[in-house]
């Protein structure tokens, strides 16, 4: 019941967004008219087949790419360019290799001119939250894949954005670590509730994590169908309700060639 109250405000509104890439040789339409809304503290999974334009969609939502048409409003403000009120966790990690864990997590607050004492204190909190206490002075090359993405999550959190965009953050991990990180994300999110848009091409991951799963079509991508996932957390991969949803969603998703 408490959640009902928490997620009533609109955090992201996207209206008729389309994206076409123009290169010398040709123009390719990647996103074909998508409208959607995300409420405050909601965790929405965008689930689509490989190469359907998920990264492009997320980049457009975050302001890393300009939409060809349509508009995106995050927390009441129109998105026109990258900015610290939106956090991003990358499919390719994108950590700064020359900075330590602390340096990476502190990066946002440092750019925004927050004092050293305050930003390190805050960074320490988030490093602790993602379970990396004791690794503050390690460089990214010294960490395992799962630990690197923990840094990515802490870095995004530490800037205290109103929305977090996560682009297949666990896509590069082995299955075991992936399950672990999903539980970790749930734990972190339960502790520090945020609005999260989570891109994945893994159907179980989408159902396991999200309040709502939005299924995307092949390129040029559109919204195919939406599913509200009201299974209680923590969820169980082999729970009948879970399996039924999985079956249902599988039947609507486009197959990649």
């Amino acid at each position: 019941m408490d959640r009902e109250r928490q997620i009533k405000n609109k955090m992201i509104t996207m209206q008729h967004v389309a994206k076409t890439f123009v290169t010398e040789r040709k123009t390719t339409r990647i996103i074909d008219d998508i409208s959607l809304e995300v409420k405050e503290n909601e965790l929405v999974a965008l689930f689509g087949p490989g190469q359907c334009g998920k990264t492009t969609l997320l980049n457009v939502m975050a302001g890393l790419e300009k939409a060809t048409s349509g508009e995106i409003i995050v927390n009441g403000e129109k998105v026109t360019r990258p900015g610290p009120d939106r956090g991003f966790v990358y499919q390719t990690l994108a950590l700064f290799p020359w900075l330590t864990v602390m340096g990476n997590v502190c990066f946002g607050p440092r750019m925004r001119g927050i004092s050293k004492k305050e930003r390190e204190e805050r960074a320490r909190y988030y490093i602790d939250l993602v379970g990396l206490k004791g690794f503050e002075d390690s460089y990214p090359v010294q960490l395992s894949g799962g630990m690197k993405q923990r840094v990515g999550i802490a870095r995004a959190y530490c800037n205290e954005p109103s929305v977090l965009f996560m682009d297949e953050p666990f896509g590069h991990l082995d299955a075991q670590t992936r399950y672990l990180m999903q539980d970790e994300l749930m734990r972190i999110w339960e502790k520090e509730k945020r609005t999260i848009v989570f891109v994945t091409n893994n159907i179980e991951e989408a159902i396991y994590l999200a309040d709502r799963v939005i299924v995307l079509t092949n390129c040029p991508t559109q919204v195919k169908k939406e599913y509200i996932i009201d299974l209680p957390r923590p969820r169980d991969y082999v729970d009948p309700g879970f399996l039924a949803l999985r079956e249902d969603i599988s039947s609507v998703v486009d197959k990649t060639l």
Partner: protein
């Protein structure tokens, strides 16, 4: 949980590195010894080669005696310092101009459009081709030497600084912008650090070409420096002095490369090459 896993790993890694270093030193000593042995046997009394080339004992003892006794006006160390200072000054001027130039060309399309044509014309000209002109401009003294060393060093520095800046990972730039960095902050905090390894590669290349150039300059016009030792050895038919000069060049060049690597290791501990 308190016991740092990375700490334990580092220690074994360090041990392995130490073992490997010891092995490398041993191999180096053996190979130098074998080389000297072959040299010695090849040039021993009575051989044809022996008439043209002094043996290792003679050469090395001349080389080491040079540290105490003067060769010409200076001791061996004095000559090394002369050559080193020439390289150093030309090299530093090249750094001060070449690196900012390359960075500017990489960062700004306008700067690239302005400087690239001139640069592309100067780049393929071997620095030695400038020697006569530099003597006309700067006289036969030190100025002309600095000038051609500068020319020999700055092209590699510029090209590599340019490459470092242009090859910055766009995703990292995007990540920095997402975290709130403005243009200037992106440049200082993302573009420059990611260009550092490439800049160092340029500095290494420039260092070896500087040594080549200083020798050529000293052979043409000078009365001190390692190039002078070699050329005056030739002029006075003193092959021992000539060879000792060549060995000194090797020693000093090698030492400066080592110094450079150490600086790089300290500055880029986060790269593969740096660790």
């Amino acid at each position: 949980m308190k016991v740092s896993i990375s700490g334990a790993k580092e220690k074994t890694l360090r041990q392995m590195k130490a073992e490997e270093a010891a092995k490398n030193v041993l191999c180096a000593l053996i190979s130098i010894f074998v080389f000297c042995l072959v040299w010695h046997l090849g040039t021993r009394n009575g051989t044809k080669l022996g008439e043209l080339l002094p043996g290792p004992v003679e050469t090395l003892s001349y080389f080491f005696r040079g540290f105490a006794a003067n060769i010409g006006t200076y001791t061996m160390v004095g000559h090394m310092i002369w050559s080193f200072m020439r390289v150093f000054i030309g090299y530093v001027i090249a750094m001060l101009i070449g690196i900012p130039l390359g960075v500017a060309m990489g960062w700004s399309k306008t700067a690239n459009a302005i400087f690239r044509p001139i640069f592309e014309v100067i780049r393929p000209i071997p620095p030695i081709a400038w020697i006569p002109l530099s003597i006309v401009w700067f006289g036969i003294g030190e100025g002309s030497k600095y000038f051609i060393i500068f020319l020999g060093a700055f092209t590699a520095m510029t090209i590599n600084a340019y490459a470092g800046v242009t090859s910055v990972d766009e995703v990292l730039v995007g990540a920095a912008r997402m975290l709130g960095a403005d243009e200037k902050q992106v440049f200082i905090n993302v573009v420059m650090p990611s260009a550092v390894p490439s800049i160092f590669a340029g500095l290494q290349i420039a260092l070896s070409s500087s040594w080549g150039v200083v020798l050529a300059a000293e052979m043409i016009r000078s009365s001190e420096g390692l190039g002078w030792i070699i050329i005056s050895g030739q002029n006075t038919n003193n092959n021992v002095q000539l060879l000792a000069g060549i060995i000194a060049v090797g020693v000093v060049g090698f030492a400066s490369v080592l110094l450079m690597r150490e600086i790089e290791r300290r500055l880029c501990s986060w790269t593969e090459r740096g660790r």
